[in-house]
């Protein structure tokens, strides 16, 4: 797609209605079944064969995945789980051993599938002697923007990713954080409809991470589908609509973040100053835990129905209540649970083998 005019510096969302693309078209509502999904895989498998040995290693095992248009999709897993393998297959850098996949309805072996794709690889490196703007212009024109459009988009995005003012600096002199930002710029400069980001936050300081989060949220406003892989859970939790967890090449679980958050435990933490003497009935054992920390005690109430009674008991004992905080379920729990399950299944297979 070619924008008719340069991308606007800020998303034009307003009270008048949802955000619009620079060319005036409406973005897709997240989750709408409008045509083909943004990404679809069927039985996608990658087996690595050693060069000299006959040993094989499974990078990806029959992945069936679907990413809906307009959503921000998190792709989670520990190192070596197959996240990068999946992304490289989708972007044409690796050939799958078997299975099929489509981007925006186009099969991945056709070049057309990459026409509206923006990809940020893990730890991107670039050409030593180009400047940042030159590189963005190069990237934009390779993705189909005509000459002057490419130049304008390049200058716009160069500023947008926070590198403005350093347009004469050659890439050889960029810091890791700057390279990461530039990579993100190169993924977005041609206004793609699908963006795949491999560890977009890596190498960035907190300001950088905030900027990237803002950029991703902005893209979501525009209706761009974003698939991001990470092993940093808090970022994923904050940004994603749905999350997939992949372990050892297999897809373990797919869930929406809100399901997860509400489906998790609902303990409440009560912070009390000092270390007061409080007697807890035996019936509460296992549902109320107490931890001493410097200057305070923390009572963790895992059964929410007991909360009022616990608070009453504490006040009666003369304790000074500092804070009452719900402990939300987290992605981390989901992750650990999935990992445990997978290990359990694996050992079960071993036992029965």
């Amino acid at each position: 797609m070619n924008p008719q005019q340069p991308p606007a510096p800020a998303v034009q969302s307003s009270a008048a209605g949802p955000a619009t693309w620079p060319d005036g078209s409406q973005p897709v509502v997240p989750g709408a079944a409008d045509g083909a999904p943004a990404i679809r895989t069927e039985g996608l498998t990658k087996v690595y064969r050693g060069n000299w040995s006959l040993k094989t290693a499974v990078g990806l095992d029959r992945l069936d995945l679907e990413v809906r248009r307009g959503e921000v999709f998190g792709y989670l897993g520990p190192n070596g789980a197959g996240k990068t393998t999946t992304l490289k297959i989708l972007t044409g850098l690796l050939k799958p051993s078997s299975g099929r996949a489509w981007l925006m309805g186009e099969p991945i072996d056709s070049i057309q599938s990459r026409r509206s794709l923006g990809f940020l690889p893990e730890q991107p490196y670039f050409y030593d002697h180009l400047t940042g703007v030159e590189y963005l212009e190069f990237a934009a024109s390779l993705s189909g923007l005509p000459g002057r459009e490419a130049a304008r988009a390049a200058r716009h995005w160069f500023g947008r990713i926070g590198l403005g003012g350093r347009d004469r600096l050659v890439l050889r002199k960029y810091s890791k954080g700057m390279l990461q930002r530039l990579g993100l710029g190169a993924a977005l400069v041609h206004s793609p409809r699908l963006v795949i980001l491999d560890e977009p936050m890596s190498g960035l300081d907190p300001f950088g991470r905030r900027d990237v989060r803002d950029l991703i949220l902005e893209q979501r406003e525009l209706g761009t589908t974003v698939m991001l892989s990470s092993h940093i859970l808090p970022d994923v939790e904050m940004l994603c609509d749905r999350v997939a967890i992949v372990l050892k090449g297999r897809l373990e679980r797919v869930a929406t973040v809100s399901d997860l958050v509400h489906g998790g435990s609902r303990s409440v933490e009560v912070r009390v100053e000092g270390a007061p003497v409080v007697e807890l009935p035996a019936a509460w054992q296992g549902r109320v835990a107490r931890v001493e920390r410097s200057g305070e005690s923390v009572f963790t109430v895992s059964d929410p129905s007991l909360l009022q009674d616990v608070l009453a008991r504490l006040v009666q004992s003369g304790a000074v209540i500092g804070a009452v905080t719900p402990v939300r379920g987290s992605l981390e729990e989901l992750f650990m649970a999935a990992a445990e399950e997978s290990a359990f299944r694996a050992s079960g297979r071993r036992r029965s083998a």
Binding site: L94, R114, Y125, L130, L142
Partner: protein, 254 residues
């Protein structure tokens, strides 16, 4: 066209690289040396300047191909700049052709710069008439370097930088010896002869691009020979790049 974009980018990267500037500097220094050594040459100073100048263009060009050209693709793979390119709607053969064209273009620029410098020196030394012969020799050297670059790009697409350099150097040497191979084949026993002939035809016949023996005397090669050289160079480059593209198509980038 995408190939042109990649070619232009590759050309720009190559030109800004210090190696090429160093090469031009080295060539100029060599020319200066031959001028300084004139008194030793007993009247043959201009011949020595022309011969050494032309040899420098070919030799330095070969060095650049071996040091930088073989890295063209392999380094991009190693440093993963290639991920940013191949994840865009670019057919892989187009990428290879673009890389080759850009780098060969940079080498042509270097050859022409040194050729002009050589002619300027020779003109100052009193023989501006050698200009045409020098131009022709430089043109042929450019063709030769284009062929060697294509070979380097091909190896670079399928192998590591170090191995690519070695293979390219080996094929270059074999190419210089193609005439000797043919002469050897003529005298070889029955079974060996067709095999040697085949090898002699497969390696790049670099002697087609070597008219340096004529340049110092100011003679030029017949137009037919120039035409054959151009056609051969184009064919050979196309063939080698096609091989590289075929191998590159199925390559996985882990």
């Amino acid at each position: 066209m995408t190939a042109v974009l990649i070619a232009r980018n590759t050309f720009r990267e190559a030109i800004r690289d210090r190696v090429l500037a160093g090469v031009v500097g080295a060539g100029a220094a060599l020319l200066l040396l031959t001028v300084i050594a004139r008194p030793l040459a007993m009247g043959e100073g201009t011949r020595i300047t022309v011969d050494l100048g032309l040899s420098a263009i070919s030799f330095l060009g070969l060095l650049v191909v071996l040091m930088v050209g073989t890295n063209l693709v392999a380094k991009e793979i190693e440093r993963r700049t290639i991920f940013n390119l191949l994840s865009r709607p670019i057919p892989r053969p187009v990428y290879l052709v673009g890389k080759w064209a850009g780098f060969a273009g940079a080498l042509w620029a270097v050859a022409m710069a040194l050729g002009v410098a050589l002619w300027a020196v020779v003109a100052v030394l009193g023989q501006p008439g050698l200009g045409l012969a020098i131009a022709e020799a430089v043109f042929l050297a450019g063709l030769e370097l284009s062929v060697i670059t294509a070979i380097a790009v091909m190896f670079s697409a399928i192998s590591t930088p170090v191995l690519s350099s070695l293979y390219t150097l080996g094929l270059f040497a074999a190419g210089q010896w193609s005439d000797d191979l043919r002469r050897f084949a003529e005298r070889a026993p029955g079974a060996m002869r067709p095999m040697l002939d085949v090898i002699a035809n497969l390696v790049p016949n670099l002697s087609l691009f070597n008219m340096r023996s004529l340049a110092a005397s100011g003679d030029t090669a017949p137009v037919l020979q120039l035409g054959v050289a151009v056609v051969y160079a184009l064919l050979y480059c196309a063939c080698v790049l096609a091989i590289g593209a075929a191998a590159f198509e199925s390559r996985d980038f882990k």
